[in-house]
Symmetry: C2
Subunit: 202 residues, 2 copies
DNA sequence: TAGTAAACTTACTGAAGAGTAAGATGAGAA
DNA sequence: TTCTCATCTTACTCTTCAGTAAGTTTACTA
Protein backbone atom coordinates (compact mmCIF):
# COMPACT_ATOMS: atom_id res chain seq x y z
CA UNK A 1 0.00 0.00 0.00
CA UNK A 2 1.22 3.47 -0.91
CA UNK A 3 0.76 4.93 2.55
CA UNK A 4 2.90 2.22 4.11
CA UNK A 5 5.67 2.83 1.60
CA UNK A 6 5.67 6.49 2.50
CA UNK A 7 5.86 5.63 6.19
CA UNK A 8 8.76 3.27 5.50
CA UNK A 9 10.66 6.08 3.82
CA UNK A 10 9.70 8.58 6.49
CA UNK A 11 10.97 6.26 9.20
CA UNK A 12 14.39 6.09 7.60
CA UNK A 13 14.73 9.81 7.11
CA UNK A 14 13.27 10.87 10.45
CA UNK A 15 15.49 8.47 12.33
CA UNK A 16 18.58 9.57 10.46
CA UNK A 17 18.07 13.32 10.67
CA UNK A 18 15.47 13.94 13.37
CA UNK A 19 12.10 15.57 12.85
CA UNK A 20 13.25 19.06 12.09
CA UNK A 21 16.16 18.31 9.76
CA UNK A 22 14.19 15.72 7.80
CA UNK A 23 13.16 17.09 4.41
CA UNK A 24 9.85 16.00 2.94
CA UNK A 25 11.32 15.95 -0.58
CA UNK A 26 13.87 13.38 0.54
CA UNK A 27 11.16 11.19 2.02
CA UNK A 28 9.13 11.45 -1.16
CA UNK A 29 12.09 10.58 -3.34
CA UNK A 30 12.95 7.59 -1.17
CA UNK A 31 9.36 6.40 -1.48
CA UNK A 32 9.64 6.80 -5.26
CA UNK A 33 7.00 9.50 -5.57
CA UNK A 34 6.81 13.28 -5.53
CA UNK A 35 6.18 15.57 -2.58
CA UNK A 36 2.50 16.41 -3.22
CA UNK A 37 1.69 12.71 -2.92
CA UNK A 38 3.03 12.73 0.60
CA UNK A 39 0.73 15.63 1.43
CA UNK A 40 -2.18 13.91 -0.25
CA UNK A 41 -1.77 10.82 1.91
CA UNK A 42 -0.58 12.24 5.20
CA UNK A 43 -1.65 15.88 5.20
CA UNK A 44 1.42 17.57 6.66
CA UNK A 45 4.93 16.90 7.85
CA UNK A 46 3.65 16.74 11.39
CA UNK A 47 0.91 14.30 10.40
CA UNK A 48 3.48 12.19 8.64
CA UNK A 49 5.68 12.08 11.70
CA UNK A 50 2.82 11.24 14.01
CA UNK A 51 1.59 8.45 11.75
CA UNK A 52 5.11 7.13 11.71
CA UNK A 53 5.39 7.18 15.49
CA UNK A 54 2.02 5.47 15.89
CA UNK A 55 2.89 2.68 13.56
CA UNK A 56 6.31 1.98 15.02
CA UNK A 57 5.02 2.15 18.56
CA UNK A 58 2.26 -0.34 17.76
CA UNK A 59 4.69 -2.68 16.03
CA UNK A 60 7.02 -2.57 18.94
CA UNK A 61 4.38 -3.33 21.54
CA UNK A 62 2.97 -6.09 19.34
CA UNK A 63 6.31 -7.84 18.87
CA UNK A 64 6.91 -7.56 22.53
CA UNK A 65 3.55 -8.79 23.77
CA UNK A 66 3.36 -11.62 21.29
CA UNK A 67 6.68 -13.00 22.44
CA UNK A 68 5.77 -12.64 26.09
CA UNK A 69 2.47 -14.41 25.60
CA UNK A 70 4.33 -17.37 24.16
CA UNK A 71 6.64 -17.45 27.15
CA UNK A 72 4.63 -19.54 29.59
CA UNK A 73 5.53 -19.01 33.22
CA UNK A 74 6.30 -15.49 34.54
CA UNK A 75 10.06 -15.85 34.44
CA UNK A 76 9.78 -17.27 30.93
CA UNK A 77 7.50 -14.42 29.94
CA UNK A 78 10.00 -11.89 31.16
CA UNK A 79 12.80 -13.62 29.33
CA UNK A 80 10.84 -14.02 26.10
CA UNK A 81 9.49 -10.48 26.21
CA UNK A 82 12.84 -8.96 26.93
CA UNK A 83 14.54 -11.02 24.24
CA UNK A 84 11.90 -9.90 21.75
CA UNK A 85 12.38 -6.34 22.87
CA UNK A 86 16.11 -6.56 22.26
CA UNK A 87 15.67 -8.27 18.96
CA UNK A 88 13.25 -5.60 17.90
CA UNK A 89 15.45 -2.71 18.99
CA UNK A 90 18.47 -4.30 17.31
CA UNK A 91 16.70 -5.14 14.07
CA UNK A 92 14.55 -2.05 13.87
CA UNK A 93 16.93 0.58 15.11
CA UNK A 94 15.05 3.18 13.13
CA UNK A 95 11.86 2.59 15.07
CA UNK A 96 13.64 2.93 18.34
CA UNK A 97 15.54 6.03 17.34
CA UNK A 98 12.44 7.79 16.03
CA UNK A 99 10.61 7.07 19.26
CA UNK A 100 13.42 7.85 21.67
CA UNK A 101 16.01 10.21 20.22
CA UNK A 102 13.92 13.23 19.35
CA UNK A 103 14.54 16.62 20.95
CA UNK A 104 11.83 17.25 23.55
CA UNK A 105 10.08 20.32 22.14
CA UNK A 106 8.99 20.07 18.54
CA UNK A 107 5.43 21.13 19.15
CA UNK A 108 2.48 20.11 21.26
CA UNK A 109 1.07 17.29 19.12
CA UNK A 110 4.42 15.63 18.57
CA UNK A 111 5.43 15.79 22.20
CA UNK A 112 2.09 14.28 23.16
CA UNK A 113 2.42 11.43 20.69
CA UNK A 114 5.96 10.60 21.73
CA UNK A 115 5.03 10.58 25.39
CA UNK A 116 2.18 8.19 24.71
CA UNK A 117 4.38 5.90 22.63
CA UNK A 118 7.11 5.77 25.24
CA UNK A 119 4.64 5.18 28.00
CA UNK A 120 3.08 2.24 26.23
CA UNK A 121 6.46 0.56 25.78
CA UNK A 122 7.35 1.19 29.39
CA UNK A 123 3.99 -0.15 30.55
CA UNK A 124 4.65 -3.47 28.82
CA UNK A 125 8.01 -3.87 30.48
CA UNK A 126 6.69 -2.84 33.86
CA UNK A 127 3.91 -5.40 33.58
CA UNK A 128 6.36 -8.15 32.80
CA UNK A 129 8.60 -7.20 35.68
CA UNK A 130 5.72 -7.01 38.12
CA UNK A 131 4.49 -10.50 37.42
CA UNK A 132 8.07 -11.75 37.27
CA UNK A 133 8.77 -10.32 40.69
CA UNK A 134 5.56 -11.68 42.15
CA UNK A 135 6.61 -15.09 40.88
CA UNK A 136 10.23 -15.07 41.94
CA UNK A 137 10.05 -13.05 45.10
CA UNK A 138 8.48 -15.54 47.42
CA UNK A 139 7.21 -13.78 50.46
CA UNK A 140 8.93 -10.47 49.73
CA UNK A 141 6.87 -8.01 47.74
CA UNK A 142 8.15 -5.02 45.92
CA UNK A 143 5.91 -2.05 45.31
CA UNK A 144 4.76 -0.68 41.98
CA UNK A 145 7.49 1.95 42.20
CA UNK A 146 10.13 -0.73 42.30
CA UNK A 147 8.83 -2.48 39.22
CA UNK A 148 8.74 0.85 37.48
CA UNK A 149 12.26 1.60 38.60
CA UNK A 150 13.57 -1.67 37.22
CA UNK A 151 11.59 -1.22 34.02
CA UNK A 152 13.19 2.16 33.44
CA UNK A 153 16.61 0.75 34.15
CA UNK A 154 16.05 -2.16 31.78
CA UNK A 155 14.68 -0.07 28.94
CA UNK A 156 17.48 2.46 29.29
CA UNK A 157 20.06 -0.29 29.42
CA UNK A 158 18.55 -1.88 26.32
CA UNK A 159 18.68 1.42 24.49
CA UNK A 160 22.30 1.99 25.31
CA UNK A 161 23.22 -1.63 24.64
CA UNK A 162 22.13 -1.30 21.04
CA UNK A 163 25.29 0.76 20.62
CA UNK A 164 27.28 -1.99 22.28
CA UNK A 165 25.67 -4.58 20.02
CA UNK A 166 26.75 -2.64 16.97
CA UNK A 167 30.33 -3.13 18.02
CA UNK A 168 29.73 -6.81 18.81
CA UNK A 169 27.90 -8.21 15.81
CA UNK A 170 28.87 -11.74 16.81
CA UNK A 171 26.59 -11.46 19.85
CA UNK A 172 22.95 -12.31 19.13
CA UNK A 173 20.14 -10.33 20.73
CA UNK A 174 19.32 -13.41 22.78
CA UNK A 175 22.88 -13.63 24.07
CA UNK A 176 22.77 -9.95 24.97
CA UNK A 177 19.51 -10.47 26.78
CA UNK A 178 21.02 -13.36 28.67
CA UNK A 179 23.95 -11.20 29.73
CA UNK A 180 21.66 -8.48 30.97
CA UNK A 181 19.38 -10.94 32.73
CA UNK A 182 22.42 -12.45 34.37
CA UNK A 183 23.29 -9.19 35.96
CA UNK A 184 19.92 -7.62 36.62
CA UNK A 185 17.74 -10.57 37.30
CA UNK A 186 20.23 -12.39 39.48
CA UNK A 187 20.69 -9.11 41.29
CA UNK A 188 16.98 -8.65 41.78
CA UNK A 189 16.46 -12.16 43.04
CA UNK A 190 19.20 -11.79 45.56
CA UNK A 191 18.03 -8.38 46.65
CA UNK A 192 14.54 -9.81 47.06
CA UNK A 193 16.04 -12.59 49.11
CA UNK A 194 17.47 -10.02 51.47
CA UNK A 195 20.99 -9.42 50.21
CA UNK A 196 21.10 -5.68 50.50
CA UNK A 197 23.97 -3.62 49.24
CA UNK A 198 24.85 -0.54 51.25
CA UNK A 199 27.14 2.26 50.15
CA UNK A 200 30.55 2.00 51.79
CA UNK A 201 31.03 4.52 54.60
CA UNK A 202 33.06 7.58 53.56
CA UNK B 1 32.72 36.17 30.55
CA UNK B 2 30.58 36.88 27.50
CA UNK B 3 31.43 33.64 25.72
CA UNK B 4 30.35 31.57 28.71
CA UNK B 5 27.03 33.40 28.91
CA UNK B 6 26.40 32.61 25.27
CA UNK B 7 27.19 28.96 25.88
CA UNK B 8 24.82 28.90 28.86
CA UNK B 9 22.02 30.21 26.67
CA UNK B 10 22.92 27.88 23.82
CA UNK B 11 22.83 24.89 26.14
CA UNK B 12 19.27 25.66 27.17
CA UNK B 13 18.00 26.20 23.66
CA UNK B 14 19.85 23.29 22.06
CA UNK B 15 18.68 20.89 24.73
CA UNK B 16 15.09 22.04 24.46
CA UNK B 17 14.78 22.06 20.69
CA UNK B 18 17.66 20.03 19.31
CA UNK B 19 20.39 21.34 17.03
CA UNK B 20 18.35 21.95 13.95
CA UNK B 21 15.25 23.53 15.49
CA UNK B 22 17.30 25.80 17.73
CA UNK B 23 17.24 29.38 16.44
CA UNK B 24 20.33 31.51 16.87
CA UNK B 25 18.21 34.61 17.52
CA UNK B 26 16.62 32.89 20.49
CA UNK B 27 20.01 31.98 21.92
CA UNK B 28 21.20 35.55 21.45
CA UNK B 29 18.12 36.99 23.11
CA UNK B 30 18.45 34.61 26.04
CA UNK B 31 22.07 35.68 26.44
CA UNK B 32 20.94 39.31 26.38
CA UNK B 33 22.75 40.29 23.18
CA UNK B 34 22.06 40.36 19.46
CA UNK B 35 22.76 37.70 16.88
CA UNK B 36 25.92 39.17 15.31
CA UNK B 37 27.60 38.97 18.72
CA UNK B 38 27.06 35.25 18.74
CA UNK B 39 28.75 35.02 15.36
CA UNK B 40 31.56 37.26 16.53
CA UNK B 41 32.32 34.99 19.47
CA UNK B 42 31.59 31.53 18.10
CA UNK B 43 31.76 31.87 14.33
CA UNK B 44 28.77 29.80 13.26
CA UNK B 45 25.84 27.85 14.59
CA UNK B 46 27.85 24.68 14.18
CA UNK B 47 30.79 26.19 16.04
CA UNK B 48 28.47 27.27 18.80
CA UNK B 49 27.04 23.80 19.14
CA UNK B 50 30.45 22.16 19.15
CA UNK B 51 31.78 24.55 21.78
CA UNK B 52 28.72 23.77 23.83
CA UNK B 53 29.23 20.02 23.56
CA UNK B 54 32.91 20.34 24.44
CA UNK B 55 32.24 22.34 27.56
CA UNK B 56 29.45 20.12 28.85
CA UNK B 57 31.38 16.97 28.13
CA UNK B 58 34.39 18.26 30.02
CA UNK B 59 32.25 19.34 32.95
CA UNK B 60 30.61 15.98 33.12
CA UNK B 61 33.83 14.00 33.07
CA UNK B 62 35.36 16.36 35.64
CA UNK B 63 32.46 16.01 38.11
CA UNK B 64 32.61 12.32 37.65
CA UNK B 65 36.32 11.80 38.02
CA UNK B 66 36.65 14.17 40.94
CA UNK B 67 34.04 12.25 42.90
CA UNK B 68 35.58 8.91 42.04
CA UNK B 69 39.05 10.06 43.07
CA UNK B 70 37.64 10.95 46.48
CA UNK B 71 36.08 7.51 46.79
CA UNK B 72 39.01 5.52 48.17
CA UNK B 73 38.81 1.78 47.56
CA UNK B 74 37.57 0.46 44.20
CA UNK B 75 34.04 -0.32 45.37
CA UNK B 76 33.87 3.12 46.98
CA UNK B 77 35.17 4.70 43.81
CA UNK B 78 32.48 3.03 41.78
CA UNK B 79 29.83 4.12 44.23
CA UNK B 80 31.09 7.69 44.49
CA UNK B 81 31.59 8.02 40.75
CA UNK B 82 28.21 6.62 39.91
CA UNK B 83 26.50 8.78 42.50
CA UNK B 84 28.22 11.84 41.06
CA UNK B 85 27.21 10.77 37.61
CA UNK B 86 23.58 10.49 38.65
CA UNK B 87 23.66 13.75 40.48
CA UNK B 88 25.15 15.44 37.47
CA UNK B 89 22.63 13.96 35.04
CA UNK B 90 19.76 14.87 37.36
CA UNK B 91 20.93 18.40 38.08
CA UNK B 92 22.26 19.21 34.64
CA UNK B 93 19.65 17.56 32.49
CA UNK B 94 20.45 20.03 29.72
CA UNK B 95 24.03 18.83 29.45
CA UNK B 96 22.95 15.26 29.23
CA UNK B 97 20.22 15.92 26.70
CA UNK B 98 22.48 17.95 24.43
CA UNK B 99 25.08 15.19 24.48
CA UNK B 100 22.75 12.22 24.14
CA UNK B 101 19.47 13.12 22.48
CA UNK B 102 20.59 14.53 19.16
CA UNK B 103 19.59 12.92 15.89
CA UNK B 104 22.56 11.04 14.49
CA UNK B 105 23.24 12.89 11.24
CA UNK B 106 23.56 16.66 11.54
CA UNK B 107 26.82 16.89 9.68
CA UNK B 108 30.30 15.46 9.87
CA UNK B 109 31.81 17.75 12.49
CA UNK B 110 28.89 17.48 14.88
CA UNK B 111 28.66 13.72 14.65
CA UNK B 112 32.38 13.51 15.32
CA UNK B 113 32.19 15.75 18.36
CA UNK B 114 29.23 13.92 19.85
CA UNK B 115 30.88 10.56 19.37
CA UNK B 116 33.99 11.78 21.14
CA UNK B 117 31.99 13.23 24.02
CA UNK B 118 29.95 10.09 24.52
CA UNK B 119 33.02 7.92 24.32
CA UNK B 120 34.78 9.88 27.00
CA UNK B 121 31.86 9.50 29.42
CA UNK B 122 31.64 5.81 28.67
CA UNK B 123 35.37 5.38 29.14
CA UNK B 124 35.16 6.80 32.65
CA UNK B 125 32.39 4.42 33.63
CA UNK B 126 34.13 1.47 32.04
CA UNK B 127 37.31 2.26 33.95
CA UNK B 128 35.44 2.37 37.23
CA UNK B 129 33.71 -0.91 36.53
CA UNK B 130 36.93 -2.61 35.51
CA UNK B 131 38.76 -1.79 38.71
CA UNK B 132 35.61 -2.52 40.69
CA UNK B 133 35.36 -5.95 39.17
CA UNK B 134 39.02 -6.68 39.65
CA UNK B 135 38.56 -5.83 43.30
CA UNK B 136 35.34 -7.70 43.96
CA UNK B 137 35.75 -10.63 41.62
CA UNK B 138 38.32 -12.65 43.51
CA UNK B 139 39.80 -15.25 41.19
CA UNK B 140 37.20 -14.76 38.46
CA UNK B 141 38.18 -12.28 35.79
CA UNK B 142 35.84 -10.65 33.37
CA UNK B 143 37.14 -9.42 30.04
CA UNK B 144 37.20 -5.87 28.80
CA UNK B 145 34.06 -6.63 26.81
CA UNK B 146 32.19 -7.42 30.00
CA UNK B 147 33.15 -4.19 31.70
CA UNK B 148 32.12 -2.36 28.57
CA UNK B 149 28.83 -4.22 28.52
CA UNK B 150 28.04 -3.31 32.09
CA UNK B 151 29.14 0.28 31.52
CA UNK B 152 26.72 0.61 28.61
CA UNK B 153 23.93 -0.90 30.66
CA UNK B 154 24.63 1.43 33.58
CA UNK B 155 24.85 4.58 31.50
CA UNK B 156 21.69 3.70 29.61
CA UNK B 157 19.89 2.89 32.83
CA UNK B 158 21.03 6.20 34.31
CA UNK B 159 19.76 8.07 31.28
CA UNK B 160 16.36 6.46 31.45
CA UNK B 161 16.16 6.76 35.21
CA UNK B 162 16.37 10.53 34.96
CA UNK B 163 12.79 10.29 33.69
CA UNK B 164 11.89 8.13 36.65
CA UNK B 165 13.55 10.59 39.01
CA UNK B 166 11.42 13.40 37.61
CA UNK B 167 8.36 11.52 38.78
CA UNK B 168 9.92 10.76 42.16
CA UNK B 169 11.37 14.03 43.41
CA UNK B 170 11.47 12.69 46.95
CA UNK B 171 14.21 10.28 45.91
CA UNK B 172 17.72 11.77 46.01
CA UNK B 173 20.26 10.91 43.33
CA UNK B 174 22.20 9.00 45.97
CA UNK B 175 19.16 6.93 46.85
CA UNK B 176 18.60 6.21 43.18
CA UNK B 177 22.21 5.17 42.81
CA UNK B 178 21.83 2.88 45.79
CA UNK B 179 18.77 1.27 44.23
CA UNK B 180 20.58 0.67 40.99
CA UNK B 181 23.69 -0.62 42.71
CA UNK B 182 21.51 -2.97 44.70
CA UNK B 183 20.27 -4.61 41.58
CA UNK B 184 23.25 -4.41 39.26
CA UNK B 185 26.16 -4.71 41.61
CA UNK B 186 24.67 -7.47 43.73
CA UNK B 187 23.87 -9.22 40.47
CA UNK B 188 27.38 -8.82 39.18
CA UNK B 189 28.95 -10.08 42.37
CA UNK B 190 26.81 -13.14 42.36
CA UNK B 191 27.38 -13.79 38.70
CA UNK B 192 31.10 -13.45 39.29
CA UNK B 193 30.74 -15.90 42.14
CA UNK B 194 29.32 -18.41 39.69
CA UNK B 195 25.58 -17.97 40.00
CA UNK B 196 24.67 -18.12 36.37
CA UNK B 197 21.20 -17.50 35.10
CA UNK B 198 20.10 -19.53 32.13
CA UNK B 199 17.05 -18.88 30.00
CA UNK B 200 14.21 -21.26 30.82
CA UNK B 201 13.79 -24.01 28.22
CA UNK B 202 10.97 -23.35 25.76
C1' DT C 1 -11.80 6.76 -30.15
C1' DA C 2 -13.43 10.17 -27.12
C1' DG C 3 -14.51 10.92 -22.32
C1' DT C 4 -13.34 10.99 -17.56
C1' DA C 5 -11.73 10.09 -13.21
C1' DA C 6 -7.72 8.76 -10.47
C1' DA C 7 -2.94 9.16 -9.66
C1' DC C 8 0.65 11.80 -10.12
C1' DT C 9 4.20 15.84 -11.29
C1' DT C 10 6.20 20.36 -12.37
C1' DA C 11 6.78 24.66 -10.84
C1' DC C 12 5.55 27.82 -8.03
C1' DT C 13 4.60 30.91 -3.22
C1' DG C 14 5.75 32.39 1.24
C1' DA C 15 7.98 32.05 5.54
C1' DA C 16 11.74 31.10 8.41
C1' DG C 17 16.16 31.59 9.55
C1' DA C 18 21.62 31.45 8.89
C1' DG C 19 24.84 34.62 8.09
C1' DT C 20 26.58 39.70 7.11
C1' DA C 21 27.22 44.69 5.69
C1' DA C 22 27.03 48.95 7.33
C1' DG C 23 26.47 51.87 10.70
C1' DA C 24 25.37 53.35 15.78
C1' DT C 25 26.89 53.93 20.54
C1' DG C 26 29.94 54.77 24.12
C1' DA C 27 34.42 55.11 26.60
C1' DG C 28 38.68 56.85 26.86
C1' DA C 29 42.64 59.82 25.04
C1' DA C 30 44.39 64.34 23.44
C1' DT D 1 35.29 69.08 21.70
C1' DT D 2 36.93 65.80 18.35
C1' DC D 3 39.26 61.51 17.23
C1' DT D 4 39.57 56.51 17.57
C1' DC D 5 38.94 51.99 18.92
C1' DA D 6 35.95 48.43 20.78
C1' DT D 7 31.46 46.85 21.34
C1' DC D 8 27.23 46.19 19.75
C1' DT D 9 22.72 46.61 16.72
C1' DT D 10 19.58 47.38 12.87
C1' DA D 11 18.35 45.89 8.70
C1' DC D 12 19.26 43.60 5.26
C1' DT D 13 20.54 39.10 1.65
C1' DC D 14 20.13 34.59 0.20
C1' DT D 15 19.03 29.85 0.86
C1' DT D 16 16.18 26.22 2.22
C1' DC D 17 11.98 24.13 2.61
C1' DA D 18 6.78 23.39 3.93
C1' DG D 19 2.89 23.61 1.56
C1' DT D 20 -0.05 24.28 -2.97
C1' DA D 21 -2.06 25.58 -7.62
C1' DA D 22 -2.42 24.11 -11.92
C1' DG D 23 -1.66 20.95 -15.12
C1' DT D 24 -0.24 16.13 -17.02
C1' DT D 25 -0.23 11.26 -17.53
C1' DT D 26 -2.38 6.72 -16.96
C1' DA D 27 -5.94 3.56 -16.97
C1' DC D 28 -10.29 2.52 -17.44
C1' DT D 29 -15.01 3.08 -19.45
C1' DA D 30 -18.48 3.62 -23.07
Amino acid sequence: MREQEILDAALQVFSKRGYRAAVVDEIAELAGISKPMVYLYLGSKEGLFIACVRRESARMVAAFREAADAGGAPEGRLWAGLAAFFRHVAEHRDSWVVLHRQAPEQGEAIAHELTAARRSVMAEVTGLISTGIADAGGQVRLGADDADFVAHALVGAADSLTDWMERHPEESPEATTARLMNVMWVGMRNVLAGEIWVPPAD
